[in-house]
Symmetry: D2
Amino acid sequence: MMTMEKIVYRPARDELAYTFGGRMPVAHVRSGDILEVFTEDCFGGLVRGPADFPSQVCRMPYLNPVSGPFFVEDAEPGDTLAIHLASIVPARDWGVSSTFPHFGALTSTSHTATLQPPLEERVWVYDIDRQAGIVRFQATETDHTVDLPLEAMIGTIGVAPGGMQARPTIVPDTHGGNLDTPQLRAGTTLYLGVNVHGAMLALGDGHARQGEGEACGVGVEIATTTTLAIEVIKGEPTGWPRLETDNSIMSIGCARPLEDAYRIAHHDMVGWVGALTGLETLDAYQLVSQAGRAPIGNVCDPNYTVLAAVDKALLPAPASAYAGVHDRLRQLAVGLG
Amino acid sequence: MMTMEKIVYRPARDELAYTFGGRMPVAHVRSGDILEVFTEDCFGGLVRGPADFPSQVCRMPYLNPVSGPFFVEDAEPGDTLAIHLASIVPARDWGVSSTFPHFGALTSTSHTATLQPPLEERVWVYDIDRQAGIVRFQATETDHTVDLPLEAMIGTIGVAPGGMQARPTIVPDTHGGNLDTPQLRAGTTLYLGVNVHGAMLALGDGHARQGEGEACGVGVEIATTTTLAIEVIKGEPTGWPRLETDNSIMSIGCARPLEDAYRIAHHDMVGWVGALTGLETLDAYQLVSQAGRAPIGNVCDPNYTVLAAVDKALLPAPASAYAGVHDRLRQLAVGLG
Amino acid sequence: MMTMEKIVYRPARDELAYTFGGRMPVAHVRSGDILEVFTEDCFGGLVRGPADFPSQVCRMPYLNPVSGPFFVEDAEPGDTLAIHLASIVPARDWGVSSTFPHFGALTSTSHTATLQPPLEERVWVYDIDRQAGIVRFQATETDHTVDLPLEAMIGTIGVAPGGMQARPTIVPDTHGGNLDTPQLRAGTTLYLGVNVHGAMLALGDGHARQGEGEACGVGVEIATTTTLAIEVIKGEPTGWPRLETDNSIMSIGCARPLEDAYRIAHHDMVGWVGALTGLETLDAYQLVSQAGRAPIGNVCDPNYTVLAAVDKALLPAPASAYAGVHDRLRQLAVGLG
Amino acid sequence: MMTMEKIVYRPARDELAYTFGGRMPVAHVRSGDILEVFTEDCFGGLVRGPADFPSQVCRMPYLNPVSGPFFVEDAEPGDTLAIHLASIVPARDWGVSSTFPHFGALTSTSHTATLQPPLEERVWVYDIDRQAGIVRFQATETDHTVDLPLEAMIGTIGVAPGGMQARPTIVPDTHGGNLDTPQLRAGTTLYLGVNVHGAMLALGDGHARQGEGEACGVGVEIATTTTLAIEVIKGEPTGWPRLETDNSIMSIGCARPLEDAYRIAHHDMVGWVGALTGLETLDAYQLVSQAGRAPIGNVCDPNYTVLAAVDKALLPAPASAYAGVHDRLRQLAVGLG
């Protein structure tokens, strides 16, 4: 039985981090601990109304702050860090979204560079009703409103990358980072390969919800109180980020163009399915081809994200992934409730 | 009230078509008619067991045959053809899948050309139990089996393209074609812009099911008996293929790289949402960004496909798409049952 | 010795073709013949001044007309058609270029779809001085002029594609088409695989010059009188378009994204170098990697084009490509001068 | 007149750097100084013969070492660092190239992930004759040899990126880095925007030559003695890397897919031409479209590189770029000879 401790962390403003890697830890945690973290929104809380244009109130590179990093004792390169998202609670009763000059899927960007002027910058403020589980969209030019389901998620979560790198928090890659997938919701366990001594876990960029692809480049951005249960899986490396829920396993590919993100995720999933079930590689490829889902995460960040997902019920008698850590942490998390 | 006729068509082998465009019609139908069509599988029924390698038993370009084209009376360029998929019934109690040299998402291809030898070509035969609604995967190298849900769909359906073109049936584009999305199931209405007098509708390439992206390049390929209800919507053009179900509307983008398919679909959806609801463009962009789903169709065909989908329940009081034709054809189809 | 005939062809306006494939021949030619063809510019000659906006004076799909197709006797599927460009003479003393709504490399397009309005549509008229070999750029908003070298080329040249296809002339692919590379100049021999009985050669879309990539989507568009020498190489197939000059050999890849065009061209070149020199595959890959050039053709058409080029002087004692047909036709062409 | 100093730097093995950013300077230099730097090859000098497989003798992330960083006094964010390549001399009489598992343009990779086994890993050793200016290719499977021109270049050169980042030296981006273009030869001036106090210049990864695109992923890798002249241009920022030679100006785009690298480079060039000549934006776009070249750098690194190049002779009376620094440093470099 694990002796578990609950660490509560609320960053001071000048403690917020803007890179994965290149930072000293803000706290130490141990495998089996529960971590309750306050996370700021992607704008550092500075966009609060229609007149707060992100390009004016935010200053590069101080975007997309994360809380952390947390030094995880006993985590070494070659291990895997399992991070179970126990709960993600919006910290305020509002969220914001916006367009942002030359950022997003339906605009030219710094990289898909065109000679056209940028789209108009505009801010949308959403009311959030935590009790009712509702996020209210209000149109800016007409009177329309729509109540959307509150489906809180963490946009950015990762560890320090290897090779002495420090990456902006806006980038998703093998180390996690700005994965921006709605699958990072409460009840999900995230697996990340450990690249440096102590792993150096950090997270932020909560969304009250986002569509698949995050088309306009910005979700319904919120500050959160997020509770995690973590465990170090010794001696088992993980190449690309993976997810597990009660019902499914998922691999995440991060790349441009988008088909490479698809390829990475599905290549990883074919190997994972083979390892869990004993299926030979082409048999696993065939099964994933017919049984898999491929939810898109983001089509706006420096790397796009695509997931390969397979329901456990469609796998032939799979072994437990990572020695059953998801079920273990899930139980632990339920016990917190 | 429409006077409806039921046309039954079963192609002789030499009537199968391999292009959209460039063909004479096999039958004439009218707006409001019901069409029951036998469709061959993508291998022309020639792959029946593990020794029937597609690259040997099939001869290019005689792949992916479609039944048709059907001349739709009164359909003119500038109109939209609504095609409701009333039912898709597997015609045999088996389906096949395979790898195919240099085709698929996790292999080098004719276009993503590498110096590596192709993956091994292999055939999988699936038993289909229509009563139980099950498609049985059987591994080739081990004894594993898995029962997957039967989720029959039409892979290829389209009209003649404009500009005097004739396109291989393997290609998806504005005219439809090899869209290869699981969303083309019974209960769905497909909208295609009419490019030539008579529209020239054709379909084939049924799948007992496929995963999102059709990773290995081949679904669980089946012959089908497919029943359609069609209606011509006069004077309303449609740029890219669109879908409607009881619960949602969807736009389909067809392109490489995959992000362009995403962009096309979402650009079309933003315009469609704006037209149906009265939302201004950036408001529609914002709503689609938070409420939308983006199911991937295929990541193997000459053009990849991505859909933009929005639940009707998340739209503010939308007008009926295409003057309510989906509900009308849905009712008609239910009446057939 | 070949008995050579010179065929002169000047299309009437309603003889212009807008597809490769799906057309009846306008004339018959034989291997060894000389063909002198008048070609219209990509706008059909309708854009003659700053007020002639292409989107207004041209009507889709009547863009990019070609002259032909010419039925080449004795050309059969599996053969290669060698087409030597003996001379390309501007037919008028002016050329035009333009921006075009949502077309070009530095704008959003129909496929790289964004919500931004299109760039302004504008026409540039160039004076052409054939004697001096000069194309004069004149700015529209200021008084600047620049004399650029006249480097006449053919943008679009191809044969009928296989598989009963008819493709718009705007598309480059295995059959040739809108290759849009400055390498298609006088002195170059183009090799195209024959897909249908008679090959069905056609050409058009001359440019007085263009930059690599044709960034704005439009070259300095001209009508031309183009003289070709053709020869059928029996029993030797060609997969992707290839070029030969006195000094180099080149393979052309046509695809999206641009790296696939690069891959196709270089994969083909590695094989070609191996076949000509006897180098083993990885040795040929290594040599091409260090000795090769990779000129970009277009980054605006439905498929982008990249070439792989290697100087003959950097190949170890190569056999003559296609049994020396380039030298033979070159001599023939010089004899015409 | 500048008082110039010559700094000579030869790194000890444990001084080699593997990131841009995140490092302390190895020396301080001033605007106007001459810097003579020994650079190791991309394998750290460990691959010396056919049995030295890079994947075995090198250990990640210790690949692609650079010498530096050099702290440039007076260089501040918002300035531009001009680096003139005075000479690049191979330090040994041999160079090496190789294939490398899942790296290169004609193989599946970690990101273009497929289920195929990697290409065979193989090493090629080249003799270099500095006097004759020759690099000798020797085939491994046959007796063929070819003498290629020695065209020494620097593959990797850059400054520290902004935003507290540390990037692996293998990555090209706005800060320079692994640009891998043959244009980085003696006689060229490179302009890089300064992101941090002191700029933190570093370089390495010499090539005796490489083809455009570096198809196999590896040039003819050499150690070098490279001489640079540097100057800080105060108060003039530079977004993407730019080059100037006696005859032309060039912008470098770094991105995936390759068309985005093309777009970035050409977008930057249109702006640069406009600024130098006074041409309005669309006029500059038009001129670049007809006069420009687009040499490909690499199609194998984490970001691909494409250049936009325009001959000065084809620009209408341009102002000197960066106040004539190229001519000044060029003179200085000639004086060193």
